[in-house]
């Protein structure tokens, strides 16, 4: 059982201002939800830079090595044939296939990593508090569990920043 306090804004600069004020007061913000990625929000929330690009790189390297060595093996060991007078290890010919598989691996590994890391997927049930977030509400969510202040104090602080419709809700988790 924990109490969630949340409110929303109708403009992204108001949101940024509010987040800064709350952080100055030392209040820990559980989540911020917006209809689109807000410029500057990542920096203000001090979100760590995503590791997804690294995932893409590693997967790409794996794909490249696998595909290249596979083609090489096929042409030197598996079924060596002479085509157009080319040598068995016709490296130039292997480049297009290697490139395509590299991109495929990198893209899909990153996509899957994104979904897994964010807990999104077919069948995910999200904890939506305000349905208008995906429309035009910029929402700040505070959790009483993460903060030393009481629920009322948190609600007051949130209202002081100019948030609209500040509500408290008890959730099961």
């Amino acid at each position: 059982m924990r109490t969630i306090i949340y409110g929303h804004f109708t403009d992204d600069s108001d949101l940024l201002g509010a987040v800064k004020i709350l952080q100055e007061k030392g209040i820990h913000i559980a989540d911020v939800r917006t209809p689109f990625p807000v410029h500057g929000l990542d920096a203000v929330l001090k979100l760590r830079r995503s590791h997804l690009p690294k995932v893409a790189f590693i997967a790409g390297v794996i794909g490249a090595v696998l595909m290249f060595s596979f083609q090489y093996w096929v042409f030197t060991e598996g079924w060596p044939l002479i085509f157009g007078g080319k040598p068995y290890s016709s490296i130039l010919s292997f480049i297009p296939g290697t490139f395509e598989i590299t991109v495929l691996f990198a893209a899909f590994a990153m996509g899957i990593a994104f979904l897994v890391r964010s807990n999104l997927g077919p069948g995910s049930i999200p904890d939506i508090l305000d349905e208008e977030v995906t429309n035009d509400h910029f929402q700040i969510i505070l959790s009483a569990k993460d903060n030393t202040l009481s629920e009322t104090e948190l609600a007051e602080a949130l209202e002081a920043t100019g948030a609209l419709d500040v509500k408290q809700v008890n959730t099961k988790k």
Binding site: H39, G40, P53, F57, G84, G85, K86, L92, S93, I95
Partner: protein, 396 residues
């Protein structure tokens, strides 16, 4: 956006210290040339080919910068405004490149075998309607007259807007950029055929023009980066921030990949079809210049690809400058491989004192002309309606 204190701009002065350094560099280059002629007594083909190669590199930097500026102008992009004047002044060096070409004219008979009109074989005989001196010279003149005109006129309008700002100047810059780009698209290819492809006159490749262009473009970007970073460091362009460097780094990264893509396209297709008329070009290079041939690919593709892949790498001035320098040298090597095998031949060609030292002279002249031009105008265009965009954008 990080609120930094942007220092006051330091007005640029082409002062004594700078002139001294450039004078020394020019001196080194000339000395090396004299040594090559009188002391080492290198074969004349090699000396002329070096003069030719340096003249081309000199031209490519200015021409590539002019192209980059005009493309951005025509596309109404604005991020480049804070360092636009660097490109403008690089473009102004184009007419002077013509002088270096003319100085190399006595060597044309050494570099181009189609000039020996007395004993042409059947293949070269067929090409004489295009590869003949008079027509070649006319083309040479047309390229330089028009390129120089565009470089001069665009610069004039850009500076005029500083003093009498008017919407019509922006329109004129856009329109003129359009004309230049059309002419450039055609002339960059035909000039590449005239000045590089015809060195190996028995060979041909429809991609040659675009391939040379891609190398020219990357080399120009590398020099733009180096100059911009230097100016930023000395507060001549304090409004150039990491975002600009990041974008320039992206261009260096992306177009190095594009260059490699064209390199591979040409090589793969000629290798695959294995037609002797075409393969002679690569057989010569892979057999007799093997190390340089593969080094070309490593320096111009592998290095920028891995070195500039991460976000951070493109935002650190010193690191970006080093990679740019490496890539610039790499494209010089690319030019070497395009010229030397055909013009000089295996026995005479090598990387020696001349190849390494002579560029200093051309570099000194290039920078001298650049600095003189840059000093004459404001470091950043004033009264430009899009200027605020250049100082206020962020990369993800």
């Amino acid at each position: 956006m990080e609120k930094q204190n942007i220092p006051e701009p330091v007005p640029f002065k082409f002062g004594k210290i700078l002139k001294t350094y450039l004078g020394i560099a020019a001196g080194i280059g000339l000395l090396v040339l004299l040594i090559a002629i009188f002391v080492q007594q290198l074969p004349s083909a090699r000396i002329w080919a070096n003069l030719w190669m340096n003249a081309l590199m000199f031209l490519f930097l200015g021409l590539g910068a002019l192209f980059f500026w005009t493309v951005n102008t025509l596309g109404e992009s604005t991020w480049q405004i804070n360092f636009q004047r660097v490109m403008e002044s690089m473009g102004i060096t184009i007419p002077f490149a013509a002088i270096f070409f003319v100085l190399a004219f006595p060597g044309l008979k050494d570099i181009f075998e189609w000039t020996h009109t007395g004993n042409l074989d059947r293949v070269l005989q067929e090409k004489t309607p295009y590869l003949n001196m008079p027509f070649w010279m006319v083309r040479f003149a047309v390229y330089f007259i028009l390129w120089s005109f565009f470089a001069w006129y665009l610069r004039k309008i850009s500076v005029k807007n500083d003093f009498e700002p008017h919407e019509k100047y922006l329109g004129r810059l856009r329109a003129t950029s359009g004309w230049f780009i059309v002419f450039f698209a055609i002339s960059s290819s035909t000039a590449a055929w005239d000045w590089l492809m015809s060195i190996d006159a028995h060979w041909f490749s429809t991609l040659c023009g675009w391939y040379i262009f891609s190398g020219m473009f990357v080399a120009a970007i590398a020099v733009i980066i180096l100059i911009t970073i230097a100016f930023k460091k000395f507060n001549i362009l304090p409004n150039v921030n990491k975002e600009h460097l990041h974008d320039l780094g992206k261009y260096l990264f992306g177009f190095s990949i594009f260059w490699a893509y064209l390199w591979l396209s040409q090589y793969l297709l000629i290798w695959y079809s294995n037609i002797p008329e075409e393969t002679v070009y690569y057989v010569e290079r892979v057999n007799n210049y093997k190390t340089l041939f593969y080094m070309n690919l490593i320096v111009n593709f592998v290095v920028p690809f891995f070195a500039l892949m991460t976000r951070g790498s493109k935002r650190q001035p010193l690191y970006l400058a080093i990679v740019s320098l490496v890539v610039l040298l790499g494209h010089y090597l690319d030019l070497y491989l395009a010229i030397m095998p055909g013009a000089v031949g295996r026995e005479a060609a090598s990387i020696g004192l001349l190849e390494i030292g002579l560029p200093f002279f051309y570099l000194a002249v290039f920078l001298t002309l650049f600095f003189i031009s840059f000093e004459k105008a404001k470091p950043v265009p004033e009264n430009h309606p899009y200027a605020i965009e250049s100082s206020s954008y962020e990369n993800i």
